[in-house]
């Protein structure tokens, strides 16, 4: 966990890595499509979970939004909050549920401030989680567009309009 924590405290490096991985997967898309998304998903699940669990304490929701949440896994929040901290955060910035763990969202917010590439995306309103994607590879869902599919009536809001930031 220590290596993971060290990495997480370098959010700019992580967002660059994210950007790079995103490009690599997009480049490989035609090949993955040929091999079959389902098949590659099967191969990728294990390694993806292994790597992301070490670094982010990943919960394999299958619709990764790490770059929008300060490179901090919002699913590791006991309440699964994807749009910001609950009102129960302790005065020392620790979690309401686990008094010995820092609040995921306090960390997410602080880290987002050190992320010139994706930091602003913390202001995106995240749609409800598609629970049926749980356990599948988020990278493959990114390529197939599954992770962007929202409930039919949902109105997406990109970064919320604010007078100043």
């Amino acid at each position: 966990m220590k290596f993971g924590q060290w990495l997480q405290n370098h959010p700019h490096f992580l967002e660059q890595t994210y950007g790079l991985t995103h490009r690599v997967f997009t480049m490989l898309d035609p090949l993955i499509a040929k091999l079959g998304y389902e098949r590659v998903d099967h191969w990728l699940r294990g390694p993806e979970e292994f790597a992301k669990r070490i670094v982010f304490d990943c919960r394999m929701c299958g619709q990764c939004i790490l770059h929008s949440t300060g490179m901090t896994c919002s699913m590791s929040c006991p309440k699964n909050l994807r749009n910001g901290p609950c009102g129960g955060v302790r005065a020392n910035g620790y979690c309401e549920v686990f008094p010995d763990k820092p609040c995921v969202w306090v960390q997410a917010y602080n880290r987002s401030l050190e992320m010139p590439l994706y930091g602003d995306e913390i202001l995106v309103i995240e749609p409800p989680v598609n629970r049926s994607l749980e356990g599948s590879s988020a990278w493959i869902n990114m390529l197939t567009g599954q992770d962007k599919v929202t409930p039919k009536a949902w109105e997406s809001i990109e970064i919320i309009p604010l007078a100043e930031k």
Binding site: P78, N83, G84, E96, Y109, P151, A153, W154, E155
Partner: protein, 332 residues
Amino acid sequence: MNSEFKSDGRLERVLRSGRFAVTAELNPPDSADPEEVYQAALVLSEVCDGINATDGSGAHCHMSSVAICALLTRAGYAPIFQVSCRDRNRIAIQGDVLGAAAMGVSNVLCLTGDDVTAGDQPQAKRVFDFDSIQLLRTIKIMRDKGMFLSGRKLTTPPRLFLGAASNPFVPPYDWRPYRLAKKIEAGADFIQSQYCFDVPRFRQFMQKVRDLGLHEQAFFLVGVGPLRSEKAAEFMRTKVPGVHIPDDIVERLRKTPKEKKVEEGKRICVEIIQQVREIEGVSGVHVMAYRQEELVAEIISEAGLLPRPRIGGLSAQDSKVRPRRGNRVNGV
């Protein structure tokens, strides 16, 4: 602000008329007797514009909020239906919202909810299918687009005034105004805050809220409440999630002689109401007096907030301005 009413409720009318609103929390009974709800509502109804029916607050089981709302609307009161994401998934919640609206509920407060570990049944499964922002947006979609989240059409959409909570008093402090911005963008028409005991911090928060222009997009009601003693204060700030009480308030209660503590707690509450009332962007107060309901009327009276405006009958009564169908039951 949109001048068209989104609900048929009194709270929206009081707020949109520019008057200072008062809401109060009803402590739900651990009982199957409706009389206990009516007794509690009776003391509150004359002194406020909306009665909050809590949804298993502190993760303790009580009579359900939707049932309390149903009882209250039957008696002609104006409840605020609190919905927490802790216990129900999206299917249950959307159904409850329709049911509540059918029972005459005009206000819904969307909450994340205290975690199960805060209550006396920590073994329970936590749901949190939605977060409070997704919940707000979903109910807004039901109201404005007339459909469930799945896109399935509603024959009659609910008319609701949508509320959200805000807690400016816990970290990350700088983020709190942005969290509020998200809630308003997601659909909040009014905000009820956590207990405010730290007015300087609240002033700072409201400064940022005004800088972002949020005070013009939603009505902000500040949460207030009396402290019975320094022990109660100590309990609340250590055991109740999200409550911040500065040391000087605890100290003030400690220095007060035993027989005057309740009075002093009440006075602190009244002073806080008078202070926050002067802050630009504050549209009302939300009084939460856990196990001290008898004090609510005194506090509201001493803060100079009586009489409540009479819109459509008794104070906390909903104005039935929409005689839509002949057979509509008013339940007054």
